[in-house]
């Protein structure tokens, strides 16, 4: 019974961390992605600006763990930030790509309706980019889930990643296997939940997910 409660608590900690990090990544990724898309072409195509936007996404989230612990210490905030680092890039990149690939006829029609400024971003570019933004969120959630488990394995006091390490040290291979199954199951359920949410938010999207 105590074991079961412990497993449940660890699951809840891991889920809470991944959701917090991913939500932060969604907000920041969409905002910065949209802002980048409306920059003048001269600035957008500048190599230094491009480098500043693109380079930080190449180090994997695990490589950031020592830096994050050094700056924020061991705790919830560090876990959120590690998930954020993993989830941000896919959301940001897909938002930017989605905004850039909005058909010209839609942009022109909006201009003819005199939709400008923040309204143009909020009412035209954002909804038009949503299917691709959701692709980014799906990838971000998967990366974030992997990142939080890795972070817990290295520096956690709770969570499924920490539980795997603890069970390995205690030679409790049955519980270690259970942790692995739970990581797979929860990851799958989070992914399915997101697809369900996408169907509710984007009933007009032509994309069919099997």
């Amino acid at each position: 019974m105590q074991n079961l409660l412990g497993i449940l608590v660890n699951c809840m900690f891991s889920i809470e961390r991944v959701l917090m990090g991913v939500i932060m990544a969604i907000i920041a990724g969409i905002f910065i992605g949209l802002i980048r898309s409306i920059l003048p072409y001269k600035i957008k195509s500048n190599k230094i600006i491009k480098f500043l936007f693109e380079a930080p996404k190449f180090p994997p989230p695990i490589a950031w763990i020592p830096f994050v612990i050094l700056i924020f210490g061991i705790g919830e905030l560090s876990a959120w930030i590690i998930v954020f680092i993993g989830a941000f890039s896919p959301v940001f990149t897909n938002t930017y790509e989605g905004a850039e690939s909005v058909p010209l006829v839609i942009k022109n029609t909006a201009c003819s309706m005199e939709i400008q400024g923040y309204k143009y971003l909020w009412l035209i570019i954002l909804p038009a980019s949503l299917p691709q933004i959701f692709t980014g969120i799906r990838i971000g959630l998967s990366v974030g889930w992997m990142a939080v488990i890795a972070a817990e394995m290295i520096s956690g006091q709770t969570g499924l990643g920490y539980s795997i390490q603890l069970n390995r040290l205690n030679l409790q291979y049955d519980l270690m296997t259970l942790d692995m199954i739970l990581i797979g199951l929860i990851g799958f359920l989070l992914f399915e939940g997101l697809i369900y949410l996408e169907r509710i938010i984007l009933p007009w999207s032509e994309r069919t997910i099997i």
């Binding site: 839609i106 022109n108 201009c111 003819s112 309706m113 909804p127 038009a128 032509e206």
Partner: protein, 213 residues
């Protein structure tokens, strides 16, 4: 009155002109046709008129106001391909174009284009003909001084196209918006327009003839 004054355009500084020195006037409330073979610069002219392209030279003047290169509600272009917002329902597309919550007007426009009962449908749930009718209703909601239909019905089969042209004429008879209908087939304009502007096939395109019907 909408004046197109000496419009010339080339997409590349080193390239040749697509259209050269095109001038004509569209009177208020008239129904004008613009024809010409494929590649004669009809769509370029439509984009220039709507302010989406800045011409290499020339002006677009609406009631004395120079609107060259400035997209506005004064001249609204319905494109060849679908330009509907996929995330908005039929009702919301028209409400959005209206810019105010005038549900009576939305209802009237939906009735006018015979889309009653489809208010909550998304564009991808409508047939090609219905999508074109919705584009038309949305354009009418904007209430432009000139409505340009750039081969808007050409992707449809000929029977549906004729049906929509007849509907368009009926709608024009009711609301009397100034319409510039662009098509590559001069026959489409039979009994439909009051004036036909024909572009030449050679490059750069120029006005071949101006026919009054």
């Amino acid at each position: 009155m909408i004046e197109f004054c000496n419009l010339s355009h080339r997409y590349d500084e080193k390239g040749g002109y697509v259209i050269k020195d095109i001038s004509f006037i569209v009177e208020k409330g008239s129904f004008v046709g613009l024809t010409g073979p494929s590649g004669s610069g009809k769509s370029t002219l439509a984009s220039i008129a709507a302010g989406h392209i800045l011409p290499s030279s020339g002006k677009v003047i609406v009631d004395g106001k120079n609107l060259t290169g400035r997209p506005s509600k004064e001249i609204f272009l319905v494109h060849q391909s679908t330009d509907l917002f996929p995330w908005q329902t039929v009702e919301k597309q028209i409400l959005f174009a209206l810019g105010k919550k005038d549900f009576q007007k939305v209802d009237n426009l939906i009735k006018l284009v015979r889309l009653s009962g489809y208010e909550n449908y998304y564009p991808n749930q409508l047939s090609g003909g219905m999508q074109k009718r919705l584009s038309l209703a949305r354009a009418l909601a904007v209430n432009p001084k000139l409505l340009i239909l750039d081969e808007s019905f050409n992707s449809l089969d000929s029977k549906l196209k004729i049906e929509l042209f007849q509907e368009l004429k009926k709608i024009w008879g009711i609301i009397m918006t100034t319409i510039l209908l662009i098509t590559h087939d001069s026959e489409d304009l039979e009994y439909l327009v009051q004036k036909e502007i024909k572009l030449t096939s050679q490059k750069p395109s120029q006005i071949l003839e101006l026919k009054k019907r």
